[in-house]
């Protein structure tokens, strides 16, 4: 049962944000942790956050920042980004989705962010620039490089599939 505004907001947006973070991080547990941290921060600010036109945009920005910071810390410890995306209770991804995750994982984090915000969250370039606090030209550049890298890697994966077939 939904008891208040924040709970309704939380339940309505949690899954979608986890999906976006999964596309960026390639790891469901990390994606959930980043989203939970973002909602935890939102819960203590809800009084004023609820007055925003789009409080989910704030939570998404925080979740991306949390993910980015945790990835930077993890790089020096255990290369978390290289873990396989196989949380125990997650639905098994198709071979095609595994290819997408594998193609995303080596990309620089900033390119992954831009790709997810543009293609998954559906944000225009200007809005991504505001969220990431970089010029729109930088976003375009990251999108272009990310797209090109994904095309190369997915093309190579499809080539291998065809070869195996």
């Amino acid at each position: 049962m939904v008891s208040d505004d924040f709970e309704a907001f939380y339940l309505a947006h949690y899954g979608r944000l986890v999906g976006q973070l999964l596309a960026m991080l390639g790891d469901l547990a990390e994606a959930e942790d980043a989203v939970q941290e973002a909602f935890a921060r939102a819960s203590v600010r809800w009084r004023w956050l609820s007055a925003y036109d789009a409080p989910d945009a704030w939570v998404r920005r925080v979740a991306f920042n949390v993910a980015r910071n945790s990835l930077r810390r993890a790089r020096t410890r255990l290369r978390a980004a290289e873990r396989l995306p196989r949380p125990a209770e997650a639905p098994a991804p198709t071979a095609e989705l595994v290819d997408v995750l594998a193609a995303m994982r080596p990309l620089p984090l900033r390119q992954r962010e831009a790709l997810v915000l543009h293609y998954v969250a559906g944000l225009p370039v200007e809005e991504i620039a505001r969220q990431l606090r970089v010029p729109a030209g930088t976003v375009k550049s990251r999108l272009a490089r990310g797209r090109a890298a994904m095309a190369r890697r997915l093309g190579a994966a499809e080539g291998e599939e065809a070869h195996r077939a």
Partner: protein, 432 residues
């Protein structure tokens, strides 16, 4: 792999995550939030106690009445967070400076030629920001930045002879937030040879961008000593019109202080523009002239997707105490890219449209506008950090990335100059 293929594949991954996500009970989320708040409060208190506050007490408030300046019309430096040119300030039609991480360059001929005026003592330090009141009096802030953003001692350099000689002093410590692409934005400004403020974007280790604060340092003796003020309400840039009155801008909001930056309050949004049922926000910091008149940029936002629906200026006649109904430049600001707005020293208003094809100019406070085509279109300057005009015709623009360039694209940028009110622009300092 086509664009829509990539979109559908990434959406497939996201749908997988959405199906697998299991939200924990909301009570657990709330407890996590409360625990974090308590942790941060403890850390912040420890940080405040640990900060070495260097400086003298602020001069007695009694001298408030003696202050009559118009420093709010001195052009603020243009600031970029994407090197190599991190700042530039055009002081008059010919003189100005540009700053890279290791060099402060000066021009006396509008950018035709440059000479280095970097203090010798600054060798090995990261040059962060600078400000000049006039051709002789200026300041530079530098630090040996650690990579992890932990607090670092800042050093101020000051000159009274146009950079021929410099004196240095310690400013105390602050955490300087470094952006992914370079040094985070700082801004330094002075209202006279004594009073100045440095605003630093700071965040505690482990915090995210949403927790960024604006650390404020102030000097009342020309930069010899500095004191740390309470954090500003946002990480945005600050500008003061005199020793006590100033503004801070952030996203589309504006805050004002009447006590030199100790306390701040939000500035009410200007009255709605007739015929425009859009969300109105401030688009920059005010410029205030000697006679108490001034202008502040305003932007009309569409509620959906944050896109713009118009741009213009609101006018004040009482040194920024109240703002009138904004006057828009018709037809400008409708592109998905932000327009760039500037107030020239003469009071001329200028708006460079987001597509960079048109610059609108008003000499009567925005009542009427003249439009000119620029020669910027198609030249690839896709990101403009800001535009400043010393007078009605001479200005600088800090840019930019070249679209479609290959590796190394991020390191390109340039200062462009105009002497034709924005119609023709030439590179006066390349970013490489």
């Amino acid at each position: 792999v086509r664009d829509h293929d990539l979109r559908s594949r990434l959406l497939g991954v996201a749908e997988l995550g959405e199906r697998a996500a299991e939200p924990p009970p909301v009570g657990a989320i709330r407890r996590r939030g409360r625990r974090r708040t308590a942790r941060l409060a403890t850390a912040a208190l420890a940080g405040v106690l640990a900060v070495a506050v260097v400086g003298v007490a602020v001069r007695d408030r009694a001298d408030r009445d003696q202050v009559v300046t118009s420093a709010g019309s001195i052009p603020l430096p243009l600031v970029s967070d994407l090197g190599p040119i991190v700042g530039a300030q055009l002081l008059d039609a010919d003189a100005g400076w540009a700053l890279t991480a290791d060099r402060l360059a000066w021009t006396d001929d509008g950018g035709g030629s440059w000479r280095t005026i970097t203090p010798g003592d600054a060798a090995g330090l990261d040059l962060l920001t600078a400000f000049f009141l006039d051709r002789r009096t200026g300041w530079l802030v530098a630090a040996d930045l650690p990579e992890d953003g932990s607090p670092v001692g800042l050093t101020a350099f000051r000159t009274g002879d146009g950079g021929a000689t410099w004196r240095r002093s310690a400013m105390g410590s602050a955490s300087v937030q470094q952006s992914e692409d370079g040094i985070g934005p700082l801004n330094l400004s002075f209202v006279d040879a004594g009073y100045g403020w440095l605003r630093v974007t700071s965040r505690l280790p482990g915090q995210g961008a949403e927790d960024e604060t604006g650390t404020l340092l102030r000097t009342s003796d020309g930069g010899r000593t500095w004191e740390r003020l309470p954090d500003a309400p946002t990480p945005g840039a600050v500008r003061f019109v005199d020793r006590w009155r100033g503004w801070q801008g952030w996203i589309d909001g504006l805050w004002e202080t009447g006590d030199g930056g100790r306390t701040w309050k939000a500035v009410p949004t200007p009255p709605r523009v007739p015929g425009h049922n859009r969300r109105l926000g401030f688009g920059g910091l005010p410029t205030i002239f000697e006679d108490g008149t001034g202008f502040v940029p305003v932007l009309l936002n569409r509620r959906d997707a944050g896109l713009l629906a118009g741009a213009g200026f609101a006018e004040t006649r009482d040194r920024g105490a109240t703002w009138g109904t904004p006057r828009l430049a018709p037809g400008i600001g409708l592109d998905s890219r932000n327009p760039v707005l500037a107030v020239a020293g003469s009071g001329t208003l200028l708006v460079l449209d987001g597509d960079q094809r048109t610059i609108a100019r008003s000499a009567d406070g925005g009542r009427t506008w003249a439009y000119r085509r620029t020669d910027l279109a198609g030249r690839g300057y896709t990101a403009v950090y800001g535009m400043t005009f010393a007078d009605a015709t001479s200005g600088w623009l800090l840019s930019a990335l070249l679209s479609g360039c290959g590796r190394g694209c991020d390191s390109e940028g340039a200062v462009l100059g105009t002497r034709s009110a924005g119609r023709a622009w030439a590179v006066v300092l390349p970013g490489r």
